[in-house]
């Protein structure tokens, strides 16, 4: 079979398909889709920022109000950590938005792979920036809780303070289980979701980009 025959056969594959595109309506539908996508992103961003802001306000209140030194330090660190999480989320968003469909296939694959790698690394290192710091802060915060009477602190929390060592231990263990699960779920996603995608992208990139195997 000659090249021309193949090309002719290929071009015939849609010759009996009539494609009708009402572009004016389509553009309106696209605009609606983009607006909806924008709203979803805006809602998600607002939720993330609101949660961080809420955390900052709560810990700022603790920082000012609570007299126990360790708990005060932990509250201050918590505020810094919430700020860091917002920064990290923003950085990741910039990464995923730079993948462009109008690039040559090989360049697009390389860009896609580097974005996937960075996302995978973010998940793999989540223990160090997303889990251990808040766990240590919580540990410090709980451990630092003392008796309001010792600090002449008049508070509505007097009814609950001081808390026993056993209760503190129980809280810390509960948190350890929760944060341990968070580490596991992040590592699981990195291994089972991102690694196979990265591997597939690498294989495709290698096949397309390598000339050695053709010789």
């Amino acid at each position: 079979m000659e090249d021309n025959e193949l090309k002719q056969l290929w071009s015939q594959s849609t010759s009996n398909v009539e494609i009708k595109v009402d572009v004016t309506t389509l553009v309106v539908e696209f605009e609606t889709k983009i607006t909806k996508m924008g709203q979803v992103i805006k809602t998600r961003d607002t939720r993330e920022y609101a949660a961080s802001l809420f955390g900052m306000v709560v810990f700022a209140y603790f920082l000012i109000e609570i007299p126990f030194p360790l708990t005060k330090i932990a509250s201050g660190l918590a505020i810094i950590w919430f700020g860091y999480v917002v920064f990290k989320i923003n950085k990741t968003k910039k990464l995923s938005s730079r993948v462009g469909a109008e690039l040559p296939v090989l360049a697009q694959l390389q860009l896609e792979k580097s974005a996937l790698l960075e996302q995978k690394n973010l998940l793999k290192t989540a223990a160090f920036w997303y889990v251990i710091p808040p766990f240590l802060m919580n540990l410090l915060w709980i451990t630092g809780l003392g008796s309001p009477v010792d600090y002449q602190w008049e508070t509505w929390a007097s009814a609950y303070l001081p808390i026993s060592t056993n209760t503190k231990l129980f809280c810390v263990l509960g948190l350890a289980v929760f944060y341990g699960f968070t580490i596991w779920i992040n590592l699981y996603a990195a291994k089972h979701k991102f690694e196979p995608l990265i591997k597939k992208t690498e294989i495709l990139e290698a096949h397309l980009g390598s000339i050695e195997q053709e010789k």
Partner: protein, 170 residues
Amino acid sequence: MTNKQQDTAYFQQVVEDNKHSILRICTMYAVAPLEPEDLFQDVLFQIWQSLNKFQGKSALSTWVYRITLNVCMKAKLKLEKTNNRTTPFDSISFMQASETNEVVENEKLEFLKHCIAALEESDKSIIVLFLEDLSYRDIAQTTGISENHVAVKMKRIRKKLLGCITPKLT
């Protein structure tokens, strides 16, 4: 004519000029649950979104092929976070224009599609561009590999493709 009307008219021209090529490529890349029509719609969406980024460094058709391949390959590799069927737009419709094609031609076409589907993903992207009658230079611009590289690859892909399809036709 307003800017928006001009953009729409330009987009309409791009769609009209390339719709059959886009559908042919989408057909080769659609994997359940995605249908070629889903990919076709996604490609048009991407073209519309990126049209203002077209700088004229390559032919517009080459640029459209790039977007088509990128969208289709991403879907095939399941790189999209949501790889479900998209809600079909009312403004796009596909109709079987006639049933007059000869059975023999349809059979040959099925063989061709089957043999292309059996190729490696990277080879598939090159052969579909070749079958779309793109020059080696345009294929190189679309894929991002060198023209010589395309020529070397095409030699091997052609051999594989003919090795697959010829026994079926005899």
